[in-house]
């Protein structure tokens, strides 16, 4: 049994909403797991069941070898960082950090030492006497982290903790969280709807859709080998291009071109997926793109345009290439870097 074990966990809210369907998942000690998915897919619900803030309708949750289903949140020894931080407004930073320790009956000197250590680690030592209302967004974020770290819990739970920060701070805090987790080595679950955040933070990633884990794996596995149309569309930025097509006798006919010798016996309507970065210009390429807009990011250019059949399409190329608006590009797919999905079920078939 691994450190945290979810077995067929289901959550149905009293109003009948089925937020999580028979989800099973194992997380190893020290692992950084990220739940990623669109808003409303049930990420928070799953996390809150681990914390004990929501009852489990069906299934089992084991943490460190103990069944958690009926254990009160105050007894679970988990720490959570909320989206709006949920700092204690009437306590200064020191007491915000110390409160959980006091409740555990730890003596004053040990508390002081632990709080000071955590404060140093998070660089908030200068604000220990301030109330949360006198801190900036980034500082509040650190206090929330400090409150989690100081208790040295079995597991850290993060529910979109970065989404209230501005873009620059978000990237900075993202890095700090990752570094901190590696330093402290505590098992963590991080919930986000931002796939970039998910990719950069995760040791392992669970892509969730409609209360179901669609795919579980390392960020690279999921990026390289998406198992469903949903995962393919959700992970990667800019989004994967999708084209309609038909697969028969190992030959894919899309609108305007064909691909032969496909490694699949599937026959029928399919969706072809191509990542913008898996294309290159070549004479007599498969795909002909009429350029409408070029976004120059410096290192890369994002080229947006339409195919012959008026479908929107995106191509990513190195920033040193100059591409004129209105020109026609001839593109080839890099060797075998395309994904074919059954159009009716969304399952990968190649």
């Amino acid at each position: 049994m691994s450190f945290l074990d979810l077995k067929n966990v289901t959550k149905i809210y009293p109003n009948g909403t089925k937020a999580v369907h028979e989800t099973s998942l194992s997380i190893d000690e020290g692992e950084f797991m990220v739940f990623v998915g669109p808003s409303g897919c049930g990420k928070s619900t799953l996390l809150r069941m681990v914390a004990g803030l929501e009852d489990i309708t069906e299934g089992d949750i084991n943490l460190d070898g103990k069944l958690m289903n009926e254990v009160d949140p105050s007894e679970r020894d988990v720490a959570m960082v909320f989206q709006n931080y949920a700092l204690y407004p009437h306590m200064n930073v020191y007491n915000n950090l110390a409160y959980g320790l006091k409740n555990r009956g730890i003596d004053k000197e040990t508390i002081e030492q632990k709080v000071n250590d955590a404060a140093k680690l998070l660089q908030i030592s200068d604000y220990l006497q301030r109330k949360p209302s006198m801190l900036s967004g980034g500082q509040r974020q650190r206090v929330a982290m400090g409150r989690a770290i100081v208790r040295n819990p079995k597991i850290f739970l993060f529910d979109e903790p970065l989404s209230n920060l501005d873009a620059k701070l978000r990237i900075q805090m993202r890095l700090e969280i990752k570094k901190l987790q590696q330093k402290v080595g505590v098992t963590s679950i991080f919930v986000t709807h931002d796939q970039v955040e998910a990719m950069t933070l995760a040791d392992r990633l669970a892509v969730i859709n409609n209360g179901i884990i669609e795919q579980l794996g390392t960020p690279i596995e999921i990026y390289d080998n998406p198992k469903s149309l949903f995962v393919a569309g959700f992970i990667g930025s800019p989004q994967m291009n999708f084209l309609d097509g038909n697969l028969k006798n190992k030959t894919l006919s899309a609108e305007g071109f064909e691909i032969k010798d496909i490694n699949s016996d599937f026959e029928g309507e399919v969706t072809l997926g191509i990542r913008p970065e898996h294309l290159s210009q070549s004479e007599n390429g498969l795909i002909s793109l009429r350029v409408e807009l070029v976004e120059q990011l410096g290192s890369d250019n994002l080229v947006y345009g339409q195919l012959k059949n008026k479908k929107d399409f995106c191509y990513r190329c190195p920033g040193n290439q100059t591409i004129e608006k209105g020109s026609n590009l001839s593109l080839n797919i890099d060797n075998n870097k395309y994904y074919i999905f059954d159009k009716s079920t969304g399952k990968r078939v190649n």
Partner: protein, 273 residues
Amino acid sequence: MTRFITSSFSHLILLIGILIMVVPVWMIFASSTHTSSMINMNGLQMFLGDSFYENYLRVLLYQGGFFKEITALKMFFNSFIMATGVAILSVVTSLMAAYALVYYRIKHATLLFWIIFITILVPLELRIFPTYSVMAELNLVNSYFGLIVPISASAIATLFFRQFYKTVPDELLESAKLDGANTWRFFVDFLIPLSKTMIVAMLIFMFVFGYNQYLWPLLVTTSEQYWTVVMGLKMMSGSIVHRFAFVIMSMVPPILIIIVLQKHFIKGVFQDK
């Protein structure tokens, strides 16, 4: 220039308002420092006389009532006990009632709350006889307990605390739980400090409410030993200056309470912001 005129004008109106409220009180105070013959001959006075100590000491220590058993000093003591009791008891019960209504998984908590709330529509006067017979059955007539308890369940205070608790974000409770706080600790460590301002406001409000009770103490006390100041205003006999002195003194405790507690009140308001 026009701004100066309009602002002077509004100041003038405010000043007139203040005078209308303060002058009668001042006249009673000024008159209460004269001798009764002076008042009887010359009417109410605007300036201080020289019988202040004489009049006030007499009022405080004079044995009044039908059986000459009660002094004004004792009445102040009774009123203070009653008002403080009502204030503390009603704030404590409202805090706890609101906590249960908001945070416990009570079926039909909203309905329950509205049932509590409509008791505001049933004034004490309407239930005074049944309440009295309960107190009589329990042998609590002529006791502080009987004076305090029946008027110490406050629907208004419960309403205020409930509405406040409802604005406290759920994450705070959840966060506290994960930090190992149980139900009781959340109440003591979070809700009470967070609602400090409101608690002080309610203490003032309920103190004045308790202090101003007239009909209930009149009914539930037969022994003069339990007379309160507001009852005494009517019961005390004596000359006009002594009555004036008593009126003036009867205004002091509520004002004192406001002065003492307002410091916390204002501090609380600004800290929460």
